[in-house]
């Protein structure tokens, strides 16, 4: 047990990664129950290693519901053979993540994510899938292209993130902030002289987006505009007068 306490991260990542790789849809399917049990064991070990997140009972229960929901929906999404179901699991995973946002008192972020992802992007996916396959999915739509490489890359990133979070302690961030006085908040994001900024999430978010991150926001907006113009430019034209 002592050994497990030191190496829970690596073991759980290997178990979960192996399970997900096993579950990936391919032309020769292994019995799925083995992959499922392996992945579940890995997930349980990981949740045991992370320990509980503090807060009152309601918050804890909600956190675990949304977190497990998001992970389960994500795994179901990549292991499903039917593209329409995969898109729907993606939408559900997004909704679960939005629940996590709401728990962290970021309702605007949650609502915006629902509008953009679940409401627009996934609907467009389903739209295209429905147009493309009126009668059953084709063979090459039914298995994963690179199951091994994809699983490896995804779980490597996950391992790095978790390892960083495990080794970091909350005080470090404050120390880093204090040590680098060059990084200060933009003047635009501060309240006007003689006024105080209430903790209304929308107002604070707006000030921060168009103050601290003005250039990033404008850059992203310009990029989207260029992409839109490009999409219109490469779309095939119809002859005049037809619908």
């Amino acid at each position: 047990m002592h050994w497990l306490e030191e190496h829970w991260l690596g073991v759980s990542l290997i178990l979960m990664g192996g399970g997900v790789w096993w579950l990936m849809p391919r032309s020769w399917q292994l019995p799925r129950i083995i992959g499922l049990i392996t992945a579940l064991a890995g997930a349980y070990l990981m949740s045991w290693g992370i320990k509980s997140v503090g807060g009152d009972l309601g918050d804890t229960v909600m956190f675990w519901v949304f977190a497990t929901g998001a992970i389960a929906c994500a795994i179901l999404m990549i292991t499903n053979r039917n593209p329409v179901y995969a898109a729907l699991w993606f939408a559900l995973a997004t909704l679960n993540v939005c629940g996590l946002f709401w728990l962290e008192a970021a309702p605007f972020l949650a609502a915006a994510t629902v509008i953009v992802y679940a409401g627009a992007i996934v609907v467009t996916f389903v739209f295209v899938i429905m147009l493309a396959q009126q009668s059953g999915a084709t063979a090459y739509d039914q298995h994963a292209r690179q199951p091994l490489l994809a699983t490896l890359a995804a779980f490597l990133v996950l391992g790095l993130l978790l390892g960083m979070l495990r080794d970091a302690n909350p005080g470090d961030v404050l120390v880093a902030k204090a040590q680098s006085p060059g990084v200060t908040a933009n003047l635009l994001s501060q309240p006007a002289p003689g006024k105080t900024l209430d903790d209304d999430t929308m107002r604070g978010l707006g000030r921060s987006l168009f103050g601290d991150y003005l250039f990033a926001v404008e850059l992203a907006g310009t990029l989207l505009l260029i992409a839109t113009i490009g999409a219109i430019a490469i779309a095939p034209r119809r002859s005049r007068g037809t619908l």
Partner: protein
């Protein structure tokens, strides 16, 4: 009283009220259509057919729930539930009465602490399309698939002018909370209603919401002449009713939003102002709000039986070539007026001017196009 008990009572009142209202809206729809077409309408069950909805409900509940053999069973069963659930959820942040003067056992808003009310409504409303898409796809039927394809294209397109049209009001009120928007209008009196500053936005909002709810003249997704029943061709009994309950709930939500955003909510001069604190003032205010909502519902029904259905390309042209630029111009006008500190009433002539100029250009362009086509067809002959 306990907070949770009040919340439960409020939810029960809302659900019961909406379901009962939906039953009688169907009757009202049939009566209004009969009145407009010089017929009698339903008049057999009870006086003036008033018990007709109960008879309909009993018949529908007793119907056999058929699941065709070729459908995708899970999604076929979930789709109507999604359609109903999402429209009901949007009602959680709508204040349906004077929130400040509520009696001790009721709250008039289910979730009072959500300060992003409008964005929440749009977020939940954008999920409602899943019911239609999944219903059409799971039915495994060409007519259903075509209906849901049309519906998804239509709803995604109309969401944009719908969201943009209320941005002007959000800028002017400085909040996304529906109740605060309402209170600001009530405090300013009848000349402070947003309709005086944003008439164009009100028009765009109302028409776009009609398109969002797939009502005639925008019900391309279920038009009988082309698609049998559209996305609900394979549905019957209670499941079909869930789709229609979703549609009528959407209708009620639209009417509430129109009344609250543009027409001052429960405010009416002399009888229902923020100062009126007489006994049962909350009842009068509730009645004023419901009267406004009922008027809006009535208007939607009149529109349904007056304007014929659009063609699909006309539908798309209306949103992308007319509503979208108009809503954008309206928002820019609000921003300019706010930035330079002009009185907000300047927005009234600006809105009318925008409407006139856009109307002139659109009509002229259409005329030229028709004339060109006529010349081309003559030359071909």
């Amino acid at each position: 009283m306990n907070e949770i008990v009040i919340t439960l009572i409020t939810i029960a009142v809302v659900i019961g009220g909406i379901l009962g209202a939906c039953m009688y809206l169907v009757l009202a729809e049939r009566k209004v259509s009969a009145w407009m077409q010089d017929r009698m309408g339903p008049n057999r069950v009870g006086p003036y057919g008033l018990i007709q909805p109960v008879a309909d409900a009993i018949k529908i509940v007793l119907k056999e729930g058929v699941i065709p053999a070729h459908v995708d069973k899970a999604l076929f069963l979930i789709a109507p539930a999604i359609s109903m659930f999402t429209t009901m959820l949007a009602f959680a942040v709508v204040p349906f009465g004077p929130v400040e003067q509520a009696p001790s056992w009721l709250r008039f808003i289910i979730a009072p602490e959500v300060n992003i009310g409008l964005v929440f409504i749009f977020a939940v409303g954008s999920l409602a399309i899943y019911g239609v898409i999944l219903g059409g796809w799971a039915s495994n039927n060409k007519y259903s698939a075509l209906g849901s394809l049309r519906a998804s294209a239509q709803v995604i397109s109309y969401e944009i002018p719908l969201g943009m049209s209320v941005l002007g009001i959000v800028l002017m009120s400085g909040t996304l909370d529906l109740n605060e928007i309402l209170n600001k209008q009530a405090a300013a009196g009848i000349l402070g209603w947003n309709i005086w500053f944003q008439p164009l936005a009100a028009l765009i909002f109302y028409i776009s919401s009609l398109a969002e709810s797939n009502r005639l003249p925008f019900d391309l997704s279920e038009c009988e002449q082309e698609l049998v029943g559209g996305y609900h061709t394979e549905y019957g009994g209670l499941r079909l009713v869930l789709f229609f309950l979703g549609e009528y709930t959407h209708l009620i939500t639209i009417s509430f939003l129109t009344a609250i955003l543009f027409f001052g909510g429960w405010h009416f001069p002399w009888i229902a102002t923020p100062e009126s604190t007489y006994r049962f003032a909350w009842l009068v205010k509730l009645a004023v709000l419901l009267a406004k909502v009922l008027f809006s519902v009535f208007l939607i029904m009149l529109i349904r039986w007056t304007i014929p259905r659009f063609r699909f390309d006309q539908l798309m042209e209306l949103t992308w070539k007319v509503f979208f630029p108009l809503a954008l111009a309206n928002m820019v006008a609000v921003m300019v007026v706010m930035q330079f500190g002009m009185p907000p009433i300047v927005l009234l002539p600006i809105s009318i001017l925008l409407f006139a100029v856009f109307g002139f250009f659109t009509v002229t362009a259409k005329r030229l196009e028709l004339a060109r086509r006529r010349r081309a067809s003559l030359a071909m002959r």
